[in-house]
């Protein structure tokens, strides 16, 4: 590895960062060959001496924990790279699609959109995303340079990740993005073919310039006071969607669209109605909400299903972090956009549309403005579209030129409480960042930003809970959604308590005490005693029946052995005289025990019963038997006393025991299957005889007159002779024919006719 003398080398902490971004860095370094790793780490950590590959990776990861060094690396970047990082920081996203980054670099006026992206990777400040299982060794192509990766990104796609500490350090740095107030008429370098690495153009052409402060649509004089949303709309709707899909998750077709019944669920008015006061109507908003819920961790994608999860931890963190998780879906390629609504790509085609870069850039430009200034979304849109590569050129269809940015800003971002909006005297929509939006964009400490209004609930005797929105936040919405169902959404939302909702909460880890203390702590008046009693009753029922879906059961030879084990400290629940249930296998000290047998119930059982000759006596091999056998065997057979001096249990199959089997609803096939599973052989004929005896025709016992022929040929001849057939009752075997007693004289006459000798021996 290379050695570079440098004064920046510092002592690194011993504890390695364990955040997800650190895993991404390690996974990326794993895929770099020695040459590329050496080049990147030389730029990043500037090592003084030769280090092993592992040491270089460790030091590189730890560098991001050092703010001074991170700042120095940022300062050494070109402005185009800093612009990328600034947009990422303002959007509060660390994962980006490469094409999105390239698009907004180009829109900001640099001609080569990919160059800053490559520069950031080569500087060790951005890392390709390689999705590997945690702890699994990295496999796949080793990359020798960044272009090599760009050409072969693999199944993870062209995604780059910026380490979180790097993004955090971008907050507070001087902005390199254009301010639409300050320089509204500068031409767009790069767009007119000039090389540029300076601050790019800021507004449209000169003839666009008008308005009080210079830029068109920019105003500091709104006609009405600004309105800020309570920020709860999307969280409540996600909670509603979560509740509606708990039992039947949303499913997508192989083509990426939703099934018809799920489309209907996503168009439910509770989820898809226009956001009150937003002033815009977004198409297919339910579909966007499902995507946002995936981004926010409310759903996880398993195969083609969107499965509800317990509410994600970032809903417990802060408003800003919750909002960042929701907006994440807007900054990555998806199947929804405000122009077309829900539009999954045709099968086999990649998601590709320019909206993520426009959204990120638009948000950053709004954040760049003077905090007191208002701007029209149309101005930002015009500014971006004039420079964005997707809309440049003359071949853009008119439908692509439909305005959409106001819909996104007012329809998606405003309901999160990040924007303030109003109308100008001309009726134009004006926006600016809200206080919460500034915290979002500028990374301000957001530790205690949940609602300060503590009491916002009214619990009614009819088990309805009224929740006033000014006191709601993601944390409280998540909590309420666990134990009550959303009925109405409005300024005062109504939720319904019920046994199923309380049961759901208990299953998610809540307790009666936690539900009660939440209601007590947030209700404006005392919770009615009848409601408390009802909640207690439902919760107590929860403990009455416990279902262990995958328990570990210890079976002892005797009650004394179980007592001995418990007295030696075994942590177990006693199930009966000889059985105990253990929650954690790790808690068992196996040094105390001698393993007499082990059985895994997800593996088919092995034969553990030996049959005697007629199949009626069954001996159990206790080393191979299982608990299921203990419940099955007393049904199929009766226990036999153990003879003195003998070890092992034996059972006998009797007609009475088989009657029990029949009463239990088993048929012969099931019994036969049981014998095959437990003995390795089919049920013996004796067993079949006993089992089927009642369903056959009744037996008859009677005297029989039998003709014994000297050979089979003679018997066949008599059997086929029509005249003689009148005397025959049945053919008993090759040589034996049963005769009808009343036809014996005729038989004798016919035998005499053909000259056969016989001896008649009748009683």
């Amino acid at each position: 590895m290379s050695t570079v003398e440098n004064t920046e080398a510092v002592e690194f902490a011993q504890a390695e960062p364990t955040a997800p971004w650190a895993s991404v860095i390690r996974a990326a370094f794993d895929r770099y060959d020695d040459h590329l790793l050496g080049e990147i780490t030389t730029r990043l950590i500037k090592p003084r001496t030769v280090h092993s590959r592992e040491e270089l990776v460790r030091r590189s990861v730890e560098l991001f924990e050092n703010p001074v060094l991170v700042d120095r690396r940022i300062q050494s970047l070109e402005k185009s790279c800093m612009a990328l990082l600034e947009v990422a920081a303002k959007a509060r996203q660390n994962r980006w699609y490469v094409a999105t980054l390239a698009e907004f670099v180009f829109a900001l006026g640099w001609q080569d959109g990919i160059k800053p992206v490559v520069a950031l990777v080569e500087a060790g400040l951005a890392f390709p995303l390689f999705q590997t299982k945690p702890g699994a060794p990295s496999t796949g192509t080793q990359f020798s340079n960044v272009m090599h990766w760009l050409a072969n990104p693999g199944p993870s796609g062209h995604y780059l990740v910026f380490p979180d500490p790097l993004i955090e350090r971008m907050h507070g740095k001087e902005s390199v993005l254009p301010d639409l107030f300050e320089n509204p008429v500068a031409p767009a370098p790069g767009m007119d073919g000039q090389a540029s690495d300076g601050i790019p153009a800021l507004a449209g052409d000169e003839d666009d310039a008008s308005g009080e402060e210079g830029a068109p649509g920019v105003s500091t004089l709104p006609a009405f006071p600004g309105t800020v949303s309570d920020g709860c709309e999307w969280y409540i709707r996600m909670a509603v969607l979560w509740q509606k899909t708990l039992k039947n998750p949303l499913r997508r077709t192989q083509a990426g669209d939703y099934f018809k019944k799920d489309q209907e669920r996503l168009e439910d008015p509770q989820i898809a109605s226009p956001v009150p006061d937003a002033g815009v109507d977004l198409p297919d908003i339910g579909y966007w909400l499902a995507g946002a819920a995936v981004s926010a961790g409310v759903f996880e994608i398993v195969d083609t299903e969107l499965r509800p999860t317990p509410f994600p931890t970032n809903w417990q963190a802060s408003l800003v972090q919750s909002a960042a998780a929701v907006l994440k879906c807007c900054f990555e390629p998806g199947s929804w956009n405000p122009q077309d609504g829900w539009k999954p790509p045709p099968p086999g085609e990649l998601l590709s549309h320019p909206f993520p870069s426009v959204f990120a850039l638009a948000w950053s430009l709004v954040a760049r403005l003077d905090p007191k200034a208002w701007i029209s979304p149309g101005v930002i849109e015009a500014w971006i579209l004039k420079r964005h590569p997707w809309w440049s050129g003359s071949g853009v269809r008119p439908s692509r030129k439909k305005p959409f940015l106001e819909s996104w800003l007012c329809g998606i971002v405003w309901p999160l409480g990040l924007l303030e909006k109003t109308k100008s005297t001309e009726g134009q929509t004006l926006i600016r960042l809200s206080a919460q939006g500034r915290k979002y964009a500028f990374g301000e400490i957001d530790g205690d930003e949940f609602r300060q209004i503590g009491r916002m609930l009214i619990v009614q005797p009819n088990l309805e809970v009224m929740a006033f929105r000014q006191g709601l936040d993601p944390q409280r919405i998540a909590k309420l959604s666990r134990f009550a169902t959303w009925k109405n959404i409005g300024p005062a939302c109504v939720l319904q308590l019920g046994p199923d909702t309380v049961y759901r909460a208990l299953e998610l880890g809540d307790t009666f005490e936690s539900i009660r203390s939440f209601l007590d702590g947030h209700a404006t008046r005392a919770v009615p005693p009848a409601v408390v009693d009802q909640l207690r009753s439902w919760a107590s029922k929860h403990e009455r029946v416990v279902v262990h879906s995958s328990a570990l059961v210890l079976e002892f030879a005797s009650a004394g052995d179980l007592n001995a084990a418990l007295s030696r400290g075994l942590l177990a629940v006693r199930l009966g005289e000889r059985h105990a249930l253990v929650d954690q296998e790790e808690d068992i000290d196996f040094r105390l025990f001698r393993l007499a047998g082990s059985r895994d119930y997800l593996i088919p059982p092995e034969p553990c019963i030996h049959q005697n000759q007629d199949g009626l006596e069954l001996s159990v091999d206790d080393t191979k038997s299982d608990l299921l056998l203990e419940t099955e065997l007393p049904l199929v057979a009766d226990p036999l006393p153990v003879p003195p001096g003998k070890i092992g249990r034996s059972f006998r199959v009797t007609p009475a025991s088989l009657n029990r089997v029949k009463e239990r609803g088993w048929n012969m096939d099931q019994l036969d299957q049981w014998f095959r599973m437990r003995t390795g052989e089919p049920a013996r004929p004796t067993i079949r005889l006993f089992f089927l005896s009642k369903v056959q025709d009744p037996f008859s016992i009677e005297p029989e007159v039998v003709l014994h022929a000297p050979d089979a040929e003679t018997a066949d001849g008599l059997w086929q002779w029509q005249k003689f057939r009148v005397c025959v009752r049945s053919r008993l075997g090759p040589l034996a024919i049963s005769l009808k007693p009343d036809q014996i004289p005729l038989a004798e006459q016919l035998l005499n006719e053909i000259g056969l000798k016989y001896k008649l021996q009748l009683p």
């Binding site: 046994p499 029946v545 004394g560 052995d561 105390l592 608990l627």
Partner: protein
């Protein structure tokens, strides 16, 4: 006590068993007598527990809910 303090106690280990447990014998009887559950239940293991056939937890829980119970479900990490 059959085993001295120093001897190792013989034990048979049953892993990933599906068990319903209730301290109320009436609940156990109610579950055992439920016809819809006959195909899911292997039998009574002890006075306070029922053995369920492997992998049949979901229909059991659904039926218990229908019966008005709110069973606590304990799952061990696989």
């Amino acid at each position: 006590m059959e085993n001295g303090q120093g001897s190792r106690i013989p034990v048979k280990v049953h892993r990933r068993v599906c068990v319903i447990r209730s301290e109320d014998p009436a609940v156990i009887e109610e579950i055992l007598s439920r016809k819809k559950l006959q195909n899911e239940i292997a039998g009574r293991l002890t006075a306070s527990s029922i053995l369920v056939k492997p992998g049949r937890t979901e229909p059991i829980v659904a039926e218990l809910l229908k019966l008005g119970h709110t069973p606590k479900i304990v799952q061990r990490p696989q």
